[in-house]
């Protein structure tokens, strides 16, 4: 088994992220050769750098949200899109697209909030609805079930919206498969601010996750104020997921795979896991983005497809290695 110290792993992951940022700055719509073009400085500064940093931050948000939700639900299959966050965002975007141009009032309202704002609000509404249905955060199972129900119902409503306005299908597909193409400096700022806030809350609440790993009863007997900390964590989780989804759409698998990646090489406490998962998620999503825009340039692959392929392959390798080592 590989076992890396947390500090070293963090340094490695951050270095990988930095290398990917460099690659992201170099890979453009026509490849490497165009660095000598005039006006290239602006393209590098206004398009490639914020896009690369934005993709890193989106991955970091998803990675930390994934680590929080896997700890909170004590379930290795938990991911940031639980609790109705993804379906809420999807519905909000579908409704916003469908209502565009229907009446001047709706159009001007949408122009004020923007699709990103709508997606963010949608995420928070989805999670809020789940919390209401679960009547608070006391029971993990009820929360999960409520999240599944909210997800199914909101996805059905999204389906209805696309049925009503079929010409939004292509735009919806872009949203559902993730899109890092339009990230600018403002997106980077928003995601970085949300990321730092969520990380701080996550780190503060992480002792509760460590206690929770021993079971709810034990955690309570250790004097952990579970309800409060759970609520805080869910807030941080919703903030991180909402910021990422609003800016990049639904990028599959990053939030699920990043904590697994970290745990497989460095079993550690939840505080470190959250930070390391953020670094791993950032590197993964950014690497996927570089591939997505580089492979068939000037066309792009949806970044969510690339993360799913990369993450899926990695999980398979991980499973294979684990089952191999238990047999030995």
């Amino acid at each position: 088994m590989i076992n890396i110290r947390p500090g070293l792993l963090l340094a490695l992951l951050l270095a990988a992220g930095a290398a990917c940022v460099l690659a992201g700055v170099l890979v453009g719509s026509t490849g490497w050769a165009d660095l000598r073009d005039e006006g290239m400085g602006i393209i590098l500064w206004e398009i490639r750098l914020p896009r690369s940093l934005g993709a890193w931050w989106a991955g970091a948000l998803l990675g930390m949200a994934g680590a929080m939700s896997q700890g909170l639900f004590r379930n290795p299959l938990a991911d940031p899109y639980l609790l109705g966050s993804a379906s809420g965002a999807g519905l909000a975007v579908a409704v916003a697209l469908a209502l565009t141009g229907v009446s001047p009032q709706t159009s001007s309202l949408l122009a004020h909030i923007g699709l990103t704002g709508m997606a963010f609000v949608g995420t928070l509404l989805g999670v809020g609805l789940t919390l209401m249905l679960a009547r608070g955060v006391e029971q993990t199972l009820r929360l999960l079930l409520a999240g599944v129900v909210v997800g199914v119902v909101l996805n059905a409503l999204t389906g209805l919206a696309t049925l009503w306005a079929p010409d939004i299908l292509r735009a919806m597909q872009a949203f559902l498969l993730g899109n890092t193409g339009l990230l600018g400096w403002s997106s980077v700022t928003v995601m970085a601010a949300c990321g730092i806030a969520a990380l701080v809350i996550g780190l503060l609440a992480s002792p509760a996750l460590d206690a929770l790993a021993l079971g709810e009863a034990t955690a309570a007997s250790l004097g952990v104020r579970l309800p409060l900390l759970r609520l805080l964590l869910i807030l941080a989780f919703a903030l991180a997921t909402g910021a990422a989804v609003a800016q990049t759409g639904i990028v599959a698998f990053v939030g699920l795979v990043a904590p697994h990646l970290v745990r497989s090489v460095c079993p550690t406490l939840h505080g470190r896991l959250i930070g390391l998962s953020a670094a791993a998620g950032g590197a993964l999503l950014l690497a996927a983005d570089v591939l997505a825009r580089g492979l068939i340039r000037p066309q792009e692959l949806p970044v969510g497809l690339v993360t799913a392929l990369l993450g899926g392959l990695y999980l398979l390798v991980l499973m294979h290695r684990r089952s191999g080592s238990t047999q030995r």
């Binding site: 453009g28 719509s29 026509t30 165009d34 073009d37 006006g39 602006i42 393209i43 206004e46 398009i47 490639r48 914020p50 896009r51 697209l97 469908a98 565009t100 141009g101 229907v102 159009s107 949408l110 122009a111 923007g114 699709l115 049925l163 079929p166 010409d167 939004i168 292509r170 735009a171 597909q173 872009a174 949203f175 899109n179 193409g181 339009l182 990230l183 600018g184 400096w185 759409g249 825009r293 340039r297 000037p298 066309q299 792009e300 692959l301 949806p302």
Partner: protein
């Protein structure tokens, strides 16, 4: 003499007048014994074609998205591509059903003994061919008259485009997430016929998903986009460097015109006129 008469009569019975063999876009041959009087159309552009050929009254049902001409809205709606209502179609007892090539319902309908013709117009050439085939199906003599009408409409639109606008580089966005209309799409064909340029070359395919940076570097002088997804266009990173954005040469098409612009069918001339109007107003005389 009598023998010959009998042979002729026999032949007439065996091959009734008006019987045609139709080879559709899947290469399947369908016998249509007589001009069908009960027609179902499951693709908006096919519905529009049937009506343009003067057979709107023979339609007994259409798919959910067929909404033009207005009279088809009174017909039973038979669902969409993925959720076609087979039972309702069967109960309408159609003589022929016109479907899209990608529709999954044709096998099911054929198994029920219903005649199916699969057609999918994607380009100008396709539209002309589909007009011909539907004309055959309907037993309409001069289907190409409609084609000539479309051609004339597009040509008229093209002649209304001022000389200054010829060759102007256009970026036509089909959906946000950056799907563009390339030269090989029917939208791109219309642009070419109007004399405008297109920043998306044919080798990228009809509607490629492109890197936004590519648009910035290609620096189009005019942007065409539907109202849906146009929000925030000018604030996209780096896009303030694009000539079209700098000079406000952006046409945002109305949502109501979306169907006209997105359907390769009889209303292509109308679409060409909308695009020509954009060229006239934004690039100027």
């Amino acid at each position: 003499m009598l023998e010959r008469l009998i042979t002729t009569l026999l032949l007439a019975v065996a091959l009734p007048a008006g019987a045609v063999e139709i080879k559709d876009d899947l290469g399947q041959v369908t016998q249509i014994p007589a001009p069908p009087q009960r027609i179902v159309s499951l693709l908006p552009s096919l519905t529009e074609t049937v009506c343009e050929l003067g057979a709107c009254a023979r339609l007994v049902g259409v798919d959910r998205y067929s909404n033009f001409p207005a009279q088809v809205n009174a017909l039973p709606k038979l669902g969409g591509m993925e959720d076609t209502n087979v039972e309702l179609i069967a109960s309408l007892k159609p003589d022929v059903v016109l479907v899209a090539v990608s529709s999954r319902v044709s096998e099911r309908l054929k198994a029920l003994g219903i005649k199916v013709v699969a057609l999918e117009p994607r380009s100008y050439k396709d539209v002309q061919r589909v007009l011909g085939i539907i004309g055959q199906v309907l037993g309409v003599d001069d289907a190409q008259r409609v084609w000539r009408h479309i051609e004339a409409g597009v040509a008229a639109a093209a002649s209304s485009v001022p000389a200054r606008a010829r060759g102007v580089k256009v970026y036509y966005e089909v959906a946000s997430g950056l799907y563009a209309a390339g030269e090989s799409s029917f939208v791109g064909e219309t642009l070419a016929r109007l004399g405008a340029g297109n920043i998306i070359p044919a080798n990228l395919g009809p509607f490629p998903k492109i890197n936004p940076e590519y648009v910035v570097k290609a620096n189009p002088a005019l942007i065409m986009i539907g109202a849906r997804g146009s929000e925030g266009l000018t604030e996209r990173p780096g896009w303030n460097r694009i000539d079209a954005v700098k000079r406000g040469r952006i046409c945002v098409f109305r949502t109501e015109d979306g169907d006209i612009l997105a359907r390769p069918g009889p209303r292509m001339a109308e679409a060409a006129q909308i695009m020509a109007k954009c060229l006239r107003e934004k690039v100027g005389p």
